[in-house]
Symmetry: C2
Subunit: 198 residues, 2 copies
C-alpha cells in the first residue's frame, strides 16, 4: 500500500437503512480498509471478543480517557458508555489503512468537529416509506419505537449538508460499490499519488 496515510470515513444513516449489511458487503470487495472498533463499559455478551467486537473497559478507565480527550466521540446509553477510541483510529491511519466509522448521526457530527478532514457519508433508503417497511420487517420493535426511529430519521436529514456524500441503499451490492468508489477515489487524489510521478 506504499507510504500513504489512511483516510477517515464516517458512515451514518437512519436506523434500519442497512448500514451494517452494506459495510459487510463492502469489506468483501475492498483492501486496506478497516472498520473502527468502539470502546464500551457494557459487559461482554456471549461470544463477544475484546478488540474485535468492542474494547471492553471499566467505567473508571473510560472516564479517565474522556478526561484525556482520547475519544473522537462518546455517549452514554442506558447506563453504559460507548466511544470511538482516537488512538486506535490514529494507529490504523498511520499504517496506511482507511478507517470506517459506522456511527449514529449525532456522533458523526461530533467526529466531524474534531476531525474536519474526515469524509462524511450518509446512507439513505430509496424512500422514506421503504425505511418504514424495513423497520417493521425486522419484527423486533414496537410500533411506538418504530415511530420514534422514523421521527429521528427526519431530524437527521436536516443535517444532510454536513455530509460530503449521499449513498443510496436500494440494492446492497450497488450501495457497497458506491462506498468503494468513494474510498478508492480518495486514494487517486494527486497529493496521494504524486510520489508515483518521477
Amino acid at each position: 500500500m506504499n507510504n500513504r496515510r489512511g483516510e477517515l470515513f464516517v458512515v451514518t444513516g437512519p436506523s434500519g437503512v442497512g448500514k451494517a449489511t452494506v459495510l459487510g458487503r463492502l469489506m468483501d470487495n475492498v483492501e486496506d480498509v478497516c472498520i473502527s472498533i468502539s470502546a464500551t463499559t457494557r459487559k461482554p455478551r456471549e461470544g463477544e471478543i475484546h478488540g474485535k467486537h468492542y474494547f471492553f473497559i471499566d467505567r473508571a478507565e473510560f472516564e479517565k480517557r474522556i478526561g484525556e480527550d482520547r475519544f473522537l466521540e462518546h455517549a452514554e446509553y442506558v447506563g453504559n458508555y460507548y466511544g470511538t477510541p482516537a488512538d486506535f483510529v490514529e494507529q490504523m491511519l498511520e499504517e496506511g489503512k482507511d478507517v470506517i466509522l459506522e456511527i449514529e448521526a449525532q456522533g458523526a457530527l461530533k467526529v466531524k468537529e474534531k476531525r474536519p478532514d474526515c469524509i462524511m457519508l450518509f446512507i439513505i433508503p430509496p424512500s422514506f416509506s421503504d425505511l418504514e417497511t424495513r423497520l417493521k420487517g425486522r419484527g423486533t420493535e414496537s410500533d411506538e419505537v418504530i415511530a420514534k426511529r422514523l421521527e429521528t430519521a427526519k431530524k437527521e436529514f436536516e443535517y444532510i449538508d454536513h455530509y460530503d456524500y449521499i449513498v443510496v441503499n436500494d440494492d446492497v451490492d450497488k450501495a457497497a460499490d458506491e462506498i468503494r468508489c468513494i474510498i478508492h477515489t480518495s486514494r487517486y487524489k494527486t497529493e496521494k499519488r504524486k510520489h508515483l510521478v518521477r
Copy 2:
C-alpha cells in the same frame, strides 16, 4: 438520470500512455457519459464522419468562432486548427451528461483556466521506462520523435499539481475502473443528491 447537471472531466497524460484505450474501455462500463468532439479545419480522412469523429469546419468559420470565444481551448498544428467547442460541451452538461475531454496537457491547462470547476485527471504509466517501451512498441515513430515525446512527458509531469487525480495505467481494466470511480463519486456528492432526501 434525473435533473442534475453533468460534470466536465479533463483527461490527459503523456503520449503513449494509452488514453484512448482506457477511455474506450471506460465507455463500455459507464452510463450518461460522453466524450467531447473536437472541431478542426483539417479535411476529413476516409471514413471520418462530421459530428462523430470531428466537427469539420472551414478556416474562416473557425477563426470567427475563436473571436466569439466559442472554444474551451484551441491550437494550430501543421497548418490546421483544432479546438474544443464550448457550446457542444455545454449542451451535453445541460442534458445531465458527464463530459470527458481527452486532450493534450497544454490544452488541459487552458480548459482549467476557463472552467475552474472541471475535474482534472492525469493518466500516468506504471513507470517512465514503461512509457518508453510503449512508444517504441508502436513502431510508427523514429527514435528522435520518441525522445522528444519523452522529453515532453517530463515537462508535463511538472504541472501535476494542477490535476485533481492521478490514474495509473498498468492495466486497462483497472485504469478504466479508476476513472469510473472518480466519475461516479462526483455524482454521489451531497449537493447532487440532496433532492433524493425528502
